[in-house]
């Protein structure tokens, strides 16, 4: 597999984060400004230029033990500064399924 860094030219059109799944349990995680991971979108590092996005992704991909399938995902920044997922797929990854699970948690 080619690394996501080589796959295509990285170009972002708005605020973005780097997200992946945690290796040992698959949980959705976001790259943080502290060079670590968090399962909360609110903790994610926001990038606004393609160069920054590429750098953040490179840092994420380098942690092959901690995370798998890292990629850049769009977000929206609300007026109050809150980070919201940029599309339905990311909404579902961040907030969970849009349906009730057969067995309530």
């Amino acid at each position: 597999m080619t690394s996501p860094l080589e796959q295509k030219k990285i170009r972002i059109t708005g605020p973005s984060v780097v997200t992946a799944n945690r290796t040992h349990d698959g949980v959705v995680i976001y790259r943080t400004p502290q060079h670590g991971w968090s399962s909360r979108l609110a903790d994610a590092a926001i990038v606004r230029t393609s160069d920054d996005a590429r750098a953040l992704l490179a840092e994420a991909v380098a942690d092959d033990v901690g995370a798998i399938g890292a990629y850049i995902a769009p977000v929206a920044i609300k007026d109050n500064g809150e980070i919201a997922p940029g599309n339905l797929r990311e909404h579902i990854r961040s907030e969970g399924l849009t349906i009730e699970l057969p067995v309530p948690a």
Binding site: D25, L97, P102
Partner: protein, 551 residues
């Protein structure tokens, strides 16, 4: 039931320990994800949106109660208390932690269940009719042949690195419940003029981006030659299949590009080299496998027991019986389908509690045996008719007696965007809304047989191309849209559906389906003309008009 031998058991345990070691090395960083991915896929482990997904094979759809309880245990202990039965006689768990997977696999290996070849470019679970061995009029139990093929192809080096995944399905009945025409190889067991048992061999079926209905490559291959013939097909595929382009790698593309005649000729040449080899099955080998399938000691029972006569006064029981109970080859017995399609529920999901209830009921009423069908429902294959009323009460209590089998709310759906990382759009909420629209089972009964199939992307895991009504999720400017086809079918008359027009947004799908159903009710020649036959008679135009006139 099928009795596995010691060799199988040893193999399974070795595999689990091998995988345990691989997982350990992955978690310690000794293996990179690139190195590990192929290993996890060989053990049925995918990555979905929120977690790893674990796919377990249920060979030819037959489960013992011990095995079903083990699946319930895995759901409870390692997952979130439920599992999802798929269209290929597999079950998927959606929330398993990588670190715990080896334990889950080990627990399953105890009861002879595994996840080998449930993903990756190899020979997948050889599926069969869920009524195998009990359907009236069947030529012979097709599972004998599924098992022979399973043994031959499992971990076979030549079939472990195919150009792409490879799926075989087998039926032995006139009515095809195994959807053989949408498989890479479809096998229909029948007898030739001399009364010998063999197969019509079909090849090149499949859905996905480029759907094809399988074509007959040879009308009769003697049973003893089936391994060599299948191997000849696979060799030709291995030689010419497009490894360079994932979209062209399935055998259906090769068959289409070469043409069935040319492809058939290549296979024939290959087969002539192979046919009198060690692959020829002698009677002893077939007998050996046959003898491992055991059948219950059926009693001699009346066709119409008193219990059934009495229960017939209860209209709710009668509605369920007429919908979910099917004739058995032995007098006094029935095959009972358990709907996993409750109104408002996700199609094909069963909770651990339900699995345990089903296992208990199977022990009590079905000689300890359960079947899994491609429609994402389960079946109890050997229920004495006198037990039907008691069984119904117990099933109803567990939410497993929805009388909608083969009706409009018996929807086949893939996990879609709620779970799947490849999805364009959601499938499950669409299915749920449709089951609410058609929640009245009496109305659904009047509408009659109608299969709705939903896929969240073009990979077609929900078989949308062959749904009487097919719904395919696409993405348009970041929004979920759905293309609707009608007239598809997956049985012996398999056909691909026809698109009725432009895609519609998420919020309108259920309305469109209601329009289509209403159009059908107005157009059908008589109440016994099925939806699919009305579409065949009139084409898509009248449906299209109805749907788009007001949109």
């Amino acid at each position: 039931m099928y009795a596995y031998d010691e060799l199988d058991r040893t193999l399974l345990h070795e595999r689990v320990e091998e995988f345990r070691d691989q997982v350990k090395r992955r978690l310690s960083g000794e293996l990179t994800e690139d190195e590990f991915k192929i290993l996890r896929l060989q053990n049925g482990v995918y990555l979905q949106l929120h977690a790893y997904m674990f796919r377990v094979a249920i060979p030819y759809g037959t489960l013992s109660t011990k095995q079903l309880r083990a699946l319930a245990h895995v759901a409870r202990r390692y997952d979130r208390g439920y599992g999802h039965f798929t269209t290929r006689q597999n079950i998927q768990f959606n929330w398993i932690k990588l670190a715990e997977l080896p334990d889950a696999l080990a627990d399953l290996a105890e009861v002879g269940i595994h996840a080998m070849q449930t993903s990756g470019n190899n020979m997948r679970n050889v599926t069969s009719d869920q009524w195998a061995g009990v359907a009236p009029g069947e030529v012979e139990d097709p599972r004998i042949w599924s098992e022979l093929l399973r043994q031959h192809t499992t971990l076979h080096p030549e079939f472990s690195f195919l150009p792409r995944k490879f799926k075989i399905a087998i039926t032995a009945s006139e009515h095809d419940r195994a959807a053989i025409k949408i498989h890479d190889i479809g096998l229909r067991l029948h007898k030739n003029a001399d009364g010998e048992t063999g197969f019509e061999v079909l090849v090149g079926g499949g859905l996905g981006r480029t759907p094809f209905i399988a074509k007959t490559i040879k009308p009769f291959v003697h049973g003893r030659d089936i391994l060599s013939y299948v191997e000849a097909i696979l060799r030709v595929y291995n030689q010419y299949g497009r490894r360079d382009n994932i979209y062209k790698a399935r055998i259906k593309i090769l068959v289409h590009e070469l043409g069935i005649e040319k492809f058939g000729k290549e296979v024939e040449e290959e087969w002539q080299q192979l046919r009198d080899s060690a692959l020829t099955l002698d009677d002893g080998a077939i007998e050996e496998v046959r003898s491992r399938f055991s059948y219950p000691a059926y009693e001699k029972l009346p066709h119409m027991p008193d219990e059934l006569k009495q229960a017939a006064h209860d209209p709710l029981f009668e509605r369920w019986r007429k919908n979910s109970v099917f004739p058995h080859k032995v007098q006094g017995y029935s095959i009972v389908t358990l709907s996993l399609k409750p109104v408002g529920g996700p199609p094909g999901d069963a909770t651990a509690e339900q699995m345990d209830v089903i296992a208990d009921l199977a022990d009590r009423y079905s000689f300890g045996e359960i079947r899994v069908g491609h429609e994402q429902n389960l079946a109890l294959p050997h229920v004495a008719k006198r037990d039907l009323p008691a069984l119904w009460k117990a099933l109803d209590k567990a939410g497993l007696a929805t009388p909608n089998v083969n009706l409009v709310s018996d929807i086949i759906a893939c996990p879609g965007l709620d779970y799947c990382s490849l999805a364009n759009a959601r499938s499950i909420p669409i299915a749920q809304e449709l089951t609410r629209r058609f929640a009245n089972h009496d109305t659904a009964g009047l509408i009659g047989r109608l299969h709705i199939n939903i896929s969240g992307c073009i990979n077609a895991c929900g078989h949308h191309h062959v749904g009487h009504i097919g719904i395919l999720g696409v993405e348009k400017n970041g929004e979920e849209f759905y293309q609707i086809t009608i007239g598809g079918r997956a049985d012996e008359g398999a056909a691909l559906g026809t698109l009725i027009g432009p895609s519609v947004p998420y919020g309108e799908v259920a309305d469109v389906v209601e329009d289509i159903v209403e159009a059908y009710l107005a157009l059908r020649y008589s109440p016994d003309e099925l939806f699919i036959d009305t579409v065949k008679r009139l084409g898509v135009e009248p449906f299209k008009e109805r749907v788009y006139a007001t949109r």
